[in-house]
């Protein structure tokens, strides 16, 4: 059971790379913004159905949430447009590692100060070592 779930999660990750792999060529054909739009339009349709059938009932309205919590949707396109622009230029693997580096970097800076309402987590040595290895990894990737 455990193993099956790990395998399923592994396949979920593979899906993310397939998504990025489809985006690059699509973006060069129809334009980056149209390619991004295709992801969000289809995604909105799918998640609407998921919400309709699988969300708990009587959940609070979006309008009862603080507006700042709703900003995730504005940030989403930034990420997808970047995927569309970067993958044809540097390949999918390097894009993915760069994104990972950004995530770790964020966890060092933002979590350290507890910005954007995250819980404060002081910088620890292990995370810095991790970031260093990711940067070395990017250098290796860049050498081809």
């Amino acid at each position: 059971m455990q193993f099956l779930l790990i395998l399923l999660t592994f396949m979920g990750g593979m899906g993310l790379s397939v998504e990025a792999g489809l985006l690059g060529p699509l973006g060069s054909e129809v334009g980056e913004l149209w390619a991004t739009f295709s992801i969000f339009a289809v995604g909105a349709a799918l998640t609407f159905l998921l919400m309709l059938f699988f969300s708990p009932r009587n959940i609070p309205s979006f309008f009862s949430q603080p507006p700042s919590l709703l900003l995730g949707g504005v940030l989403g396109p930034v990420y997808v447009v970047i995927l569309t622009i970067a993958t044809p230029n540097i390949g999918i693997a390097m894009t993915m590692i760069g994104i990972l580096a950004g995530q770790i970097f964020k966890s060092l800076i933002i979590d350290h100060y507890g910005l954007f309402g995250t819980t404060e987590r002081k910088i620890d040595v292990k995370r810095i070592i991790a970031l260093a290895f990711i940067i070395i990894s990017l250098v290796f990737m860049a050498q081809g």
Binding site: I6, G12, S38, F40, F48, A93, T95, S137
Partner: protein, 152 residues
């Protein structure tokens, strides 16, 4: 050029993390699917506005490309559902590491064979070395997470 693109990808990763932090809190209030729906629908609205005012005309439209090229979201949305199921059963740390390994395996395969209309980038010794460094980095991230768990 490569440097600028890597820099862009790093910014993308940081944006993704901020988005994940916001969505995590929103998801706690309204449920994962509802917060995912918000992300996608607001994303579609923002991109539609940008297209309306900034996108130049293209000879090829989304309606002309082969349908398989439009399957991106069909590959991305399952990830959201799987994470909901998996995080409860196997924990965030294991799930995250499994996702990253899945991402890397697939991206190296796509690059190597030039699948889905991408340019082929062969798996060279230096790319392999990059993957080893990444595995070490993941080990450190994972072990720093474990320390955090013990403290709390």
């Amino acid at each position: 050029m490569t440097i600028i693109m890597i820099f862009l990808a790093v910014i993308g990763g940081a944006t993704l993390s901020i988005q994940a932090a916001l969505n995590g809190r929103l998801g706690g209030n309204v449920g994962v699917f509802k917060s995912a729906f918000l992300t996608f629908s607001v994303g579609a609205l923002v991109t539609a506005l940008l297209i309306f005012y900034f996108e130049p005309n293209h000879a090829v439209t989304l309606m002309d490309v082969p349908k398989w090229q439009l399957l991106g979201a069909m590959c991305g949305v399952p990830y959201i559902v799987i994470m909901v199921l998996a995080v409860q059963k196997i924990g965030t740390a294991v799930a995250t590491v499994a996702v990253i390994f899945g991402q890397l395996t697939m991206s190296v395969l796509i690059d190597n064979f030039g699948w889905l209309g991408n340019e082929a980038i062969a798996l060279s010794p230096s790319r392999l070395a990059a993957l080893v460094c990444l595995a070490i980095a993941l080990f450190f991230i994972y072990s720093s997470g474990k320390v955090e768990d013990k403290k709390s």
